[in-house]
Amino acid sequence: MIDAPIISVEDLSRKFQRPPVLAERLLHMVFNSKLPPVVNAVIDMDLTIAHNEVMGLVGESGCGKSTLGRMISGILPPTKGQVVYEGTDVSDLSSADKLAYTLAVQMVFQDPYASLNPRQKIGDMIAEPLQVHGITTSRAETIARVDQVLDEVGLDPDYKSRFPHQFSGGQRQRIGIARALAVNPKFLVCDEPIAALDVSIQAQVINLFMDLRDNHGFTYLFISHDLSVVRHIADRIAIMYLGRLVELAPTHELFAEPAHPYTQALLGEIPSIKRRRRKFQAVKGELPSPLDPPPGCTFHPRCSHARSRCKEEAPVLRTIGPERQCACHLINKI
């Protein structure tokens, strides 16, 4: 884990705003009226992921975890800041290096029903990037590679002439993984890859991710809302809240000693088959709208420890241990 970083992001931010229509623009120019609101999906994010590391990224819906994953994989350009791949800012890469980066960083999506083209045979789907990027040069070589990756994800290579609707959810997710594997990536951004799967299938797919890491030395950014899944697979865990990183820690330390009140609350909410007839002690309130985040620490309206300072001043991410960071005013005070 002390390897050189494969990916790091520096000061990375992403805003979303509906483009103002002409009338809004004119009114803004003449009367300085309001433009459409801005959503800050990811705010000043700094994160470094080492070779062969599994970084878990956890947060509730709307916290910006998918937006971060998409920026890292190059699907979505950042508004500010940079993504650094093996030491170079990806916006400075030459076209040949850019292609190498694009191929090396692949994405596995959440919904295996929406992410596969329903009219394309799965063999063609996996073969397409191989041919487009000239990774294989002959038809025989392409077929051999398709067979190899299908076999690797636990699907019968004979299935390659079938269409997505002929597969179950778990098998479809394997197809999505095979498609990512085909181009020999180094880094997989997995965006909630098991959330849509049945319980007994989740374990199979988690095992597949672990086997692939062992066999290929892959690095993962594993995005999930489920801490117990991330605990199983990740070396380190980053917790996001309303676009910001609020805590970063090695997995066992995070579970043993969560520092941020939000992390503590999340850990308390994991349902467990060891607990019976629990009295639920829920975190109060809801995730505030990212259109109108609260002032100060964005978690303060839901935090049971919040003090006056939290309402006024946003905490910065501080180093609180050898490998730990946390953004809270009250560290060591609660």
Binding site: V199, A203, I206, M210, R276, E286
Partner: protein
């Protein structure tokens, strides 16, 4: 004869398609006691939602409740006409759905929908119904219900909409609430809030709940008893402690073992190979046989009989996991 509020026996719900008729719920029997929370657990396609819908006559063609008895307070719901069931539904037995956005009418104010649910069953003044609605919304933790009652569903967040659905179910003080995956689409912190509300309400009102879910963790923390479904069958049922601590069916054991939190971090998880059969391809004999590590010859030929243990613990397996002598 006993304290059973609801007794279901031999319930068979079939879906008719052009290729044939398939049993989504295959002659299941179970009961629900007064004030009890029963977890109904299964994977997609196991028949858990169809079971819930069958109980209150919500199965539409091509589906059909073919046979079986649903005894509720001395009446057989399975033999009732649609008109008679309308009187029971929403009054004595209420339902909460997973997707509350599509369960609520988007063009009616929250209050209008909720008041209708009362006046449909009781001839009372509108003001009284309105007061009752406001009280129900307050009960589920909605702040300023007097104002929110005049808002539309889209003005509520997902968690708030689910609270509205729960409040609606509570309006007529039902004996039973059937909750079909009510927290699955919600974030964990919101799930925790809803579960805590449900727990309080259940304690205060004594309503019995059938909680349909795929999440054994939630069931463990909420329910008194649990029924595990697979391919249209209840394969194991019993108290939470009996079923989760000492499962006898290999499928239950497999589900428990595959939960990440029950495995050492970083090592391969226990997994059940294969996937659940499709409705159109339920195998002959025990439907779990193709995925089962304990299968014997008998599993191929016949559906296993129901075996009985202590405290109403039953399982359906030819080769059940032996009872552990030590706890």
């Amino acid at each position: 004869m006993n304290d059973h509020l609801l007794t279901v026996s031999d319930l068979l719900t079939v879906f008719h398609f052009s290729e044939g008729a398939y049993a989504a719920v295959n002659r299941i029997s179970f009961h629900l006691k007064k004030g009890e929370v029963l977890g109904l657990v299964g994977e997609s396609g196991s028949g858990k939602s169809v079971t819930g819908q069958s109980l209150i006559g919500l199965i539409d063609p091509p589906g059909e409740v073919v046979s079986g008895k649903i005894l509720f307070k001395g009446r057989n719901l399975a033999a009732m006409s649609d008109e008679e069931l309308r009187l029971v539904r929403g009054k004595e037995i209420a339902m909460i759905f997973q997707d509350s956005l599509s369960a609520l009418n988007p063009v009616l104010k929250i209050g209008e929908q909720m008041i209708e649910a009362i006046t449909e069953h009781d001839a009372i003044a509108l003001e009284v119904a309105r007061d009752r609605t406001i009280k129900a919304l307050k009960q589920v933790g909605i702040t300023a219900p007097e104002a929110r009652i005049d808002q539309y569903p889209h003005e509520f967040s997902g968690g708030m909409r689910q609270r509205v659905a729960i409040a609606t179910a509570l309006l007529n003080n039902p004996d039973i609430i059937i909750a079909d995956e009510p927290t699955t689409a919600l974030d964990v912190t919101i799930q925790g809030q809803i579960l805590s509300e449900v727990q309080n309400l259940q304690k205060n009102t004594g309503t019995a709940i059938i909680w349909i879910t795929h999440d054994l963790g939630v069931v463990s923390e909420l329910a008194d008893r649990v029924a595990i479904m697979y391919a249209g069958l209840i394969i194991e049922v019993g108290t939470i402690d009996d079923v989760l601590d000492q499962p006898r069916h290999p499928y239950t054991r497999g589900l428990l073992d595959s939960i990440p939190a029950e495995n050492e971090p970083g090592v391969r998880l226990h997994q059940i190979d294969g996937s659940a059969p499709r409705l159109s391809a339920f195998p002959v004999g025990c439907p779990f046989r193709p995925r089962c590590s304990r299968k014997v010859i008998a599993c191929k030929d016949s559906l296993p009989p129901i075996s009985k243990g202590d405290r109403g613990h039953t399982w359906t397996c030819h080769n059940p996991i032996p009872e552990e002598t030590q706890s």
